[in-house]
């Protein structure tokens, strides 16, 4: 694999939280227009659309219709919440191959507006593994049961405590309290609050689980050559890596060795960087266990060490390892596929735009998406410095 050729030149969120009277299409368009404006690009400059998750036969075509574009290149590949980290890889490759010049990656969903409770059973044909082999056992779906199984295995192998898991949620809340856009901004959360919240599927409490909010976002990418002439400081894609370990949790071979091991190794190699080079880290936090397993598999600590690694304020504001500085899916927003927000926050940290929650001296950032039931993993490394040819 060669070095990446592209940079991120614009990012934006749509309305977040509880959004009324606005469709996901309008929210995606709103974020796309804002991200293009930031870059100094026009809608007509866009010739590629990457999106996932809109419940329609072809999400990218639906978005293209709404934007009024006839793009040269589209990609609706959906691997869950990490789809947008996969899209960064695909967009970089498409730009390198000359398939497109300006790519928009966008997403929005309104699970809160649509109904208070998400579906517990996926609407799928009877022959999928989930419907044929998992549903008859009563596994709590579609996500929390599988993640609880991973957490149980992790506890069994390494003896991590509920308190250590809870620290991930508490640290996320501390960051959210520095982010005015965060859904839980202004609401304190203690370790005891997490441990005393109702157990849903052991060992995961309610407060070990991500939020359900409305929201959306957009990321604009173009070649690093073109990026140099645009309005904003370009954020270079330094490396990326992808991994698919399984679709259904029943096909997962090892619940504590995740795809992050493979995806991050590829990303580090492409960038010529390692875990120690990262100044700020954004890890998909669908559940507290997702963060601990990702920290280990991304190489920030050894197997079984993540519970101790996050203690002592290390991942809280002011700590030595700034993690999920937006407040994450646990406390900032989570419309169903959080991966796009990992990229947006990483870019803003690298541009030093984060106000109270800004990590000083950020040069390199890692965004790691996890999709499905630890099914898909993609790691994106970003930098605000020229990485050389």
């Amino acid at each position: 694999m060669g070095r990446p050729v592209s940079s991120i030149v614009g990012v934006a969120e749509s309305a977040l939280g509880t959004v009324s009277n606005e469709t996901p299409l309008r929210m995606m368009a709103s974020a796309t227009l804002d991200a293009l404006e930031e870059a100094g690009l026009k809608l007509a400059d866009v010739d590629a659309i990457f999106t996932a998750g809109l419940p329609t036969w072809s999400p990218a075509l639906e978005v293209a219709d709404y934007l009024g574009l006839q793009p040269r290149h589209v990609n609706s590949s959906d691997v869950g919440g990490s789809s947008f980290e996969f899209h960064v890889a695909a967009a970089d490759a498409a730009i390198a191959a000359g398939l497109c010049s300006v790519a928009v990656i966008t997403y929005a969903a309104t699970p809160r507006q649509d109904r208070a409770v998400p579906p517990l059973i996926r609407e799928e044909p009877p022959y999928t593994v989930r419907n044929a082999f998992e549903r008859p056992t009563g596994l709590f779906g579609p996500d929390i049961g599988p993640y609880a199984l991973a957490a149980d295995r992790y506890v069994h192998e390494f003896g991590v405590s509920a308190t250590e898991l809870a620290e991930v949620a508490v640290a996320a809340r501390k960051w959210a309290n520095l982010n005015p856009k965060a859904f839980r901004h202004g609401e304190p959360l203690s370790i005891d609050d997490v441990l005393n919240s109702p157990m849903v599927t052991d060992p995961l409490h309610t407060r070990d689980c991500c939020l359900i909010t409305d929201g959306g976002g957009a990321v604009v990418m173009t070649s690093t050559d073109r990026a140099a002439k645009l309005r904003k400081q370009p954020i270079q894609v330094a490396g990326y890596g992808e991994a698919i370990s399984h679709g259904s949790i029943s096909l997962c071979r090892d619940l504590v060795l995740t795809g992050a091991r493979v995806s991050s190794a590829a990303a580090y190699e492409m960038a010529g960087l390692g875990p120690a080079d990262m100044d700020v880290v954004q890890i998909y936090d669908s559940f507290t266990i997702t963060v601990l397993l990702s920290l280990e598999n991304l190489g920030f600590c050894g197997p079984g060490e993540a519970g101790a690694f996050v203690q002592g304020g290390r991942i809280r504001p002011g700590g030595a390892f700034p993690l999920n500085t937006s407040g994450g899916g646990l406390s900032y927003c989570h419309p169903g596929r959080f991966g796009i927000f990992l990229l947006i926050e990483a870019v803003r940290q690298l541009r030093a735009e984060c106000g109270e929650r800004q990590v000083p001296g950020c040069r390199t950032a890692l965004a790691h998406g996890t999709g499905g039931n630890f099914s898909s993993a993609a790691t994106v490394l970003l930098t605000n410095e020229a990485t050389g040819a």
Binding site: Y127, R135, V200
Partner: protein, 136 residues
């Protein structure tokens, strides 16, 4: 009336087995490895030749979770209940619900997986704790 079975040679064989109280596993005729769930081919070597073997159901709990809420109404009378991955001695991993209260189920313990005689939804597996496998 049980739900209609999927119209698929391997799935039909498997689920008809469950309805007779048998847990049938596919074993490859070429590389001799067992696989689950059943399919047209062996995922290890690609062979389409397999035999069906009844499993004794003996295995070890790989991971478990306690459902404090039911994912659908058919399971409400069972709450709280354990769902676990069981690594069968045959060499495959299956998902099953515990036919035992949550406090008795431990990850790493020996259990026996059998067809669920009263499946709340579809056709599935349950497991029972083997005598002498509980630690104090």
């Amino acid at each position: 009336m049980p739900d209609p079975l999927p119209q698929d040679p391997e799935l039909t064989t498997y689920f008809e087995g469950l309805r007779r109280g048998e847990l049938l596993l596919q074993r490859c005729d070429d590389c001799a490895r067992a696989q689950f769930p059943p399919r047209i081919h062996c995922t290890f070597c690609g062979s389409r030749a397999h035999v069906w073997e009844p499993s004794a159901g003996d295995g070890t709990v790989y991971a478990k979770t306690v459902n404090r809420r039911a994912p659908e109404s058919a399971f409400e009378h069972l709450v709280p209940y354990v769902v676990a991955f069981v690594d069968l001695d045959d060499g495959v991993r299956v998902l099953a619900r515990a036919d035992a209260p949550p406090e008795r189920v431990q990850t790493g313990m020996r259990v026996q997986v059998v067809a669920d005689p009263n499946p709340p939804v579809g056709d599935g597996l349950i497991f029972r704790i083997r005598d002498g496998s509980e630690t104090q």
